[in-house]
Amino acid sequence: MAFKRKNLAIKETTGENAIANLEVAGLSQRQIVLKRFIHHRGAMISLFTLLFLILFVFSALDNSFLFIHYRGWWHYSINDTPDLLNCKNGAIGCPTLSLNPFSGKFGLGAHPFGQDNIGHDYFALVMRGAQRSLLVTFIIGIVAGTIGTVVGSVAGFYRGIVDNVLMRFVDFLITIPSIIIGSVVGYHFGNLGIAFLALYLGLFTWTGLSRLVRGEFLTLREREFVDAARVAGASNRRIIFKHILPNAVGVIIVSVTLLMSGAILLETALSYLGFGVVAPDVSLGLLISNYQDAFTTRPWLFWYPGLFIVTIALTINFIGDGLRDAFDPRQRRRITKKDRAEATRIKKERESLS
């Protein structure tokens, strides 16, 4: 067991933090964060749900990714128009998905999510839309995350005139609401394809992150370990990347996840308004926008894309929350009976050793 290793490192086991201290004693920063994250049930469930969803969605349809073409496991593509199936109460194109094991037709059926007006398989459309939304989310996350981190670090580290120029530029961008920028960008560049749209959106959504990173850098650069590194002759680049950035990574990761969950809603909102993804391509927001009037007659055209948006955004939000808890040293986890028992056991073991 790991108790012995922990045991040696315990310095103080009294006071109100005793149990919490016992829990993290002898672990490195990264191990503590990882341990806390794994213990966050909501975040772990969300992480696996999201990973499963990504695999599921991207393997469903034929796709080409970085010059690799692969075939999907789903037998319709978004361009197929099979005949519209009739269903029992006069409606057409109903979903054939049945989750009731006793109904006799348990399983996916021909069109699990139904068909749209002209017979397109809706499952294929939703899969393509979800692919688009995930793509947008990750591109915005990467682009905005990189720009925000770099701008924030440079401004916070060099301070003075560099900081002033960069932060005034951020001020300009922040006054323009993101949906206005998104609409202007989306309306005129939406037809260039989803990747471009996401790229452009990423170019404008990094401002909040850069402010946070700057603040973190401003406090971290005054700390002793930075002085020590500088005295030891480290270059500015080395100090930024090897000393300060690893300490700021918690703030960055957390706000990038929040940025990503905001990004998926921004994309769907823009597509809904008609400023995002345009017609031959599909996105979840566009599907909802197209079929919102069909809700009373054919609700499935509305439900499924919405469920996918909510699931993706919800899992990303929960992962972000788990990360925040894991990186925040002040956050104390709930102390359960199990923790108490473990703490007393460690204490007894230590007493018997001494």
Partner: protein, 514 residues
């Protein structure tokens, strides 16, 4: 301080100048308003094209045109504010003047409801950290956080408007719904109150039984068809308000405050019929305002008469509780209009509309019918906006409250022997409000320009609609008009938030601190 504010205001002007310049050029670079005319084969198109180019002044390069636009704005200082013309030849100023009140009406209610609900839930979850209730609220708020508003809006239209209107045609709550509603409410209350499993079951059972009885009673007296509170409920409600407000504000042991509030409850009940008569005869916003002033005056007098020492908290408590009681009477009056409203032209017994700001067919001049009409039209957008935005407040106020509860001054307050109410309400709650008040200011400014989707889904004509129109028809002047309003509000709100922070928290100094 004055030096600081003027320096900040100077910086604001520079920022506004920079960002408007940026947006103006971005928008004019990003597309061509003449495109459809240039591609048109219509013989008249050439003429129209020249006309359009003249109208939009397209021969001037965009950066220069920006300064022409700016001159119009700066004219505001000499009394000749000129936002330019929209493409269909209205002045932007008149468009904005029509849109701003609509947007404000749309967003204030939801902002208030979201704030109050969010604060209450956030603080309740902080006080019950790691309980089942905490987990449930956390999950719910994350769920709300992840919902696209247009999706929520369609669901609300279906279930809260269409289905609910169907229900109102034959308003009898079915047994299934009675059970569902009672279980939800019982889970909620037992989640908040109970700490152990045994108490949980007791409270759950109690609340469930009360709820079932209550809903059955509503069914039995056909309350939904003809809703009203009546003097008895007003009396009970007022006494409840008196006890509740006193308990939270000064503590129930403050006899003077309790007596004063109870006196106001008695006065409210006695005056119920006279006030109702006044409302029937003369009703307008002004009458309501006068009555509210009278209420405050009376409660000050009652407070003065009953409290000999430490008068301020007593008077405060009395004013809050008497205003809430007055609200009960207003609510009762509005409820009594329900039946009349249902029978109006254009309503046709389906009171919750899915779209629009008011009913164009409504011909009644009755103040209460018109108020009712506004209320029913604002319900759906308010619910949608509230659901989306209150999640943020829940998370934020929970986090802040937890942080505050860990502070030394809370431990000191407990060590002094103060009771839990005083510690929570006076020491923890007030300090929680400081950071929250600053984000509220910024949020309010942001929400004015941010209800674009809500306005579109529910067919309101506010700032969002203008913005939409500006983007799709390349209306640069209109876009800049909308932007000027939202951007100015947002930078001003940031300044106000900073000043508020220093005013509320004396530890923080701005402007280098002298």
């Amino acid at each position: 301080m004055i030096a600081y504010i003027s320096r900040r205001l100077g910086a604001l002007l520079v920022i506004l100048f920079g960002s408007s310049f940026l947006l103006y050029n971005l928008e004019s670079l990003s597309g061509d308003p003449t495109e459809s005319l240039r591609l048109s084969l219509d013989p008249k198109a050439k003429y129209q094209l020249v006309q359009l180019i003249n109208q939009l002044d397209l021969n001037t390069p965009a950066p220069l045109r920006y300064f022409k636009w700016l001159r119009g704005i700066l004219g505001g200082f000499t009394g000749h504010l000129n936002f330019g013309m929209t493409r269909d030849m209205h002045t932007v100023t008149s468009q904005l003047a029509g849109a701003i009140p609509t947007t404000i009406r749309l967003v204030t209610t939801s902002a208030l409801v979201a704030l109050v609900l969010g604060l209450m839930l956030g603080i309740a979850t902080a006080l019950r950290q790691y309980s089942r209730f905490d987990y449930a609220v956390t999950f719910f708020s994350f769920l709300m956080f992840s919902l696209p508003i247009f999706w929520v809006a369609v669901l609300l239209k279906e279930f809260l408007a269409i289905k609910f209107n169907n229900f109102l045609a034959h308003p009898n709550i079915s047994v299934t719904w009675i059970i569902i509603l009672s279980v939800i409410s019982a889970l909620f209350w037992s989640g908040i109150i109970a700490r152990e499993s045994k108490r949980f079951l007791q409270i759950f059972g109690g609340v469930f039984a009360l709820n079932v009885a209550f809903l059955e009673l509503l069914n039995a007296i056909h309350w939904i068809e003809n809703p009203r509170l009546g003097p008895v409920v007003i009396l009970l409600g007022s006494v409840g308000i008196a006890y509740g407000v006193t308990a939270l504000s000064t503590g129930i042991e403050n006899r003077a405050a309790l007596k004063a509030s109870l006196t106001m409850a008695a006065i409210t009940t006695v005056l119920y019929y006279p006030i109702d008569w006044i409302f029937k005869k003369h009703s307008s916003g002004f009458v309501i305002f006068i009555l509210a002033v009278l209420t405050i005056g009376t409660s000050v007098l009652v407070g003065l008469a009953l409290a000999k020492i430490d008068r301020r908290p007593v008077i405060r408590t009395t004013i809050i509780s008497s205003l809430l009681m007055g609200f009960l009477i207003l609510l009762d009056r509005l409820m009594q209009t329900w039946k009349l409203y249902l029978s109006q032209d254009g309503v046709y017994g389906r009171p919750i509309p899915t779209i629009g700001q008011s009913d164009p067919l409504l011909s009644s001049t009755d103040y209460w019918v018109n108020t009712m009409d506004r209320v029913t039209h604002i319900i759906l957008p308010t619910v949608a906006l509230t659901l989306i935005s209150f999640a943020g407040y829940v998370r934020f106020s929970r986090g802040t409250m937890l942080e505050v509860l860990n502070q030394d001054y809370i431990r000191t307050a407990r060590a002094k022997g103060l009771n839990e109410r005083t510690v929570i309400m006076r020491h923890a709650f007030r300090n929680t409000l400081i950071p929250i008040s600053t984000i509220v200011v910024v949020d309010l400014a942001g929400i004015i320009g941010g209800a674009i989707i809500t306005e579109r889904v529910f067919g309101w004509h506010g700032m969002g609609t203008l913005f939409n129109q500006a983007i799709t028809s390349f209306d640069l002047n209109l876009l800049m008009g909308v932007f000027a309003v939202t951007a100015t509000l947002s930078v001003l709100a940031n300044l106000v938030a900073d000043l508020l922070y220093t005013a509320l928290d004396p530890r923080i100094r701005v402007g280098g601190g002298k």
